[in-house]
């Protein structure tokens, strides 16, 4: 589904990503882990078009999307969430989710201004779909609230609803449970699991190891911009390179 080949990104002379190659298979949940500063968010930003990679290629569903602008990548079927929540606080919850359907809302400003019947009809359908998405995350009763007043956990839920509402082929999730308590984390984990079972392809960046080990099909480990391991949760758990990256070199026991 998504293939990265020798992906590199330098900020000035500093390599944030260095020849990273891996594949996200269709219908699976791939987790991307690594210590702080390993380049996980940079990688997500390079794939989603927020940053332009300096080398290598990103192939999505057979098409080369390297360095394309973010909106084109969104139109090709990749949705994402942001680490530091990017909801629109002044819009209502429902409108926030509806922005997730921007790709289907029609692009012509002129048609929108005339509010032709076909657009009204489409608008109604989009609203129904947005309500369904809110329902999936148990947020229908707050649909008309301004998003800014929601609790942190609710905001995360709305962002997930927004990312999934357009049925994207691939969803990039940048730390969806950061800052949530155990109960909320379990709830989000459950929802991610359901998305996975429903056949979505997911690329998850996460620090919460318990969650990652529990729901991932495949784990990729980054350290200092390089891919140091990949495989099933069990393989990664026992990989000495991974332990070293996380816990430091254990010379005494070696």
């Amino acid at each position: 589904m998504l293939q990265l080949e020798d992906l590199g990104k330098r900020f000035g002379g500093l390599p944030a990503l260095d020849k990273v190659s891996f594949e996200v298979p269709r219908g699976k949940l791939t987790a991307l882990i690594g210590p702080n500063g390993a380049g996980k968010s940079t990688l997500i930003n390079c794939v989603s078009g927020v940053l332009k990679p300096t080398e290598g290629t990103v192939t999505f569903a057979g098409a080369d999307i390297t360095g394309q602008p973010a909106h084109d990548i969104a139109h090709s079927g990749i949705a994402r969430t942001f680490q530091n929540l990017k909801l629109f606080p002044r819009l209502t919850v429902l409108d926030n989710v509806l922005t997730g359907l921007t790709c289907e809302g029609g692009r012509s400003m002129l048609m929108a201004m005339l509010r032709l019947p076909y657009l009204r009809h489409r608008e109604r359908q989009l609203k129904l779909r947005a309500m369904e998405a809110l329902d999936r995350f148990g947020m229908t009763d707050k649909a008309n609230w301004p998003a800014g007043v929601l609790s942190y956990g609710d905001k995360k839920r709305v962002e997930l609803a927004r990312a999934t509402v357009g049925n994207p082929q691939l969803i990039l999730l940048d730390e969806p449970v950061a800052g949530l308590n155990a109960e909320e984390t379990a709830a989000v984990g459950d929802q991610l699991n359901r998305l996975r079972i429903a056949g979505y392809t997911l690329l998850l960046v996460e620090h919460d190891m318990d969650l990652v080990m529990e729901i991932s099909d495949q784990i990729v480990v980054l350290d200092s911009g390089r891919c140091i391991a990949s495989g099933s949760p069990d393989e990664v758990r026992c990989n000495p390179l991974v332990l070293e990256a996380y816990l430091g070199r254990m010379d005494a026991t070696a």
């Binding site: 989603s48 078009g49 927020v50 602008p69 973010a70 909106h71 969104a74 139109h75 949705a79 994402r80 942001f82 990017k86 629109f88 606080p89 002044r90 819009l91 409108d95 509806l98 922005t99 997730g100 359907l101 921007t102 790709c103 289907e104 809302g105 029609g106 692009r107 012509s108 400003m109 929108a112 201004m113 005339l114 509010r115 657009l119 489409r122 608008e123 989009l126 609230w145 301004p146 800014g148 007043v149 609790s151 927004r162």
Partner: protein
């Protein structure tokens, strides 16, 4: 649902349509109660400002950009209509369309490079553009009539019916203002409108959702310029006279103040903002000489305490209070 609830639900569901109808109706009968030409003249000026401010609010409030140069487009529309009908003897309606198209083109040419800027830089660039246009109006005597202005612009007419007194202007300009209002209301309630709101909120997020941010900004800029141009044409035909004074950077800042007073991103607020700032000099003619101080003071005050604008800001505070109360109730 009880009968009462049904009525409220109906009102809620059709609130936009009902509000537009109520406004249209009251404007329709307004001249029957108010025939003082001076008062009508003021309300006509409000309508012309409303058209500009609606467009500018799309640009400032929805696309999240800033322009301190919209008086230039307003002036280009006015001078365009004046010159093409008097100097070139073109019929007024087609001239208006032609001029709007040309102004749109100018906005496109200016917008593509200038909208790469943002914030203060964009404000400066648009301000500079306004000064350039204003200087041309002042200096190019042979074409524009120079500082003394350009007179003898014929009124608009349909067949033999000429819009040549205040009551007739009233119907003409308010028809245009209401059509613009409806077009804007439609736009902001559409997917494209939500894309613009997203753009105002957070550019990176908007792009990740599929909004072509650069293109959207240019499109809204051109759209607002075309609206300002139409307002300019109406202005020229209604007053029969245009002079560079009406299109200086102070007019531009007044337009921006109207947007801020009405509230950024509020279509209805644009009406209030345009009305309030147009009427303000009437209410305090004692302060005539200090107009710019007062306007500047209002702008600073509003931006300091209600950065979303006066009307939107207040409404938002209320909405947030309500939502927070509900949240507390839900928790309890």
């Amino acid at each position: 649902m009880t009968g009462k609830q049904k009525i409220f639900y109906f009102l809620y569901l059709h609130r936009t349509g009902l509000a537009v109808s109520a406004l249209s109706l009251s404007l329709l009968v307004y001249p029957f109660f108010q025939d003082n030409p001076y008062t009508l003249g003021l309300s006509n000026l409000i309508a012309i400002h409303v058209i500009i401010v609606l467009g500018l609010n799309l640009f400032i409030g929805f696309a999240g950009q800033i322009s301190l140069g919209h008086a230039a487009f307003f002036g280009l529309g006015a001078y365009g209509s004046a010159i093409s009908t008097v100097t070139f003897d073109l019929p007024a309606w087609p001239a208006m369309l032609l001029v709007a198209g040309l102004v749109g083109l100018v906005a496109l040419l200016v917008g593509v490079p200038v909208l790469r800027l943002s914030g203060h830089y964009l404000a400066m660039a648009t301000l500079g553009f306004n000064i350039v246009i204003h200087t041309i109006m002042l200096q190019w005597d042979e074409v524009t009539g120079g500082p003394s202005g350009f007179s003898g612009v014929p009124p608009l007419s349909i067949g033999d019916f000429a819009f040549d007194d205040e009551v007739r202007f009233h119907y003409l300009v308010w028809t245009f203002a209401l059509i613009t209002l409806m077009l804007c209301l439609n736009l902001v309630r559409s997917g494209v409108g939500r894309g613009l709101a997203a753009l105002a909120g957070e550019e990176t997020a908007a792009a990740a959702l599929g909004v072509d941010t650069r293109r959207a900004k240019v499109k809204v800029f051109v759209l607002s310029a075309v609206m300002a141009s139409v307002a300019g044409s109406l202005f020229a035909h209604c007053y029969g006279f245009v002079s560079p004074d009406s299109f200086s950077i102070f007019t531009s800042t007044d337009m921006a103040i109207m947007v801020v007073i009405g509230g950024m991103g509020s279509v209805w607020g644009s009406l209030l903002g345009a009305g309030f700032i147009t009427m303000l000099p009437e209410w305090m003619d004692v302060f005539e000489n200090y107009k710019d101080f007062v306007h500047g003071g209002i702008l600073v005050f509003v931006l300091m305490f209600l950065p979303q604008g006066l009307v939107t800001g207040l409404l938002e505070q209320i909405k947030i209070k309500m939502a927070l109360t509900r949240r507390k109730d839900a928790a309890a």
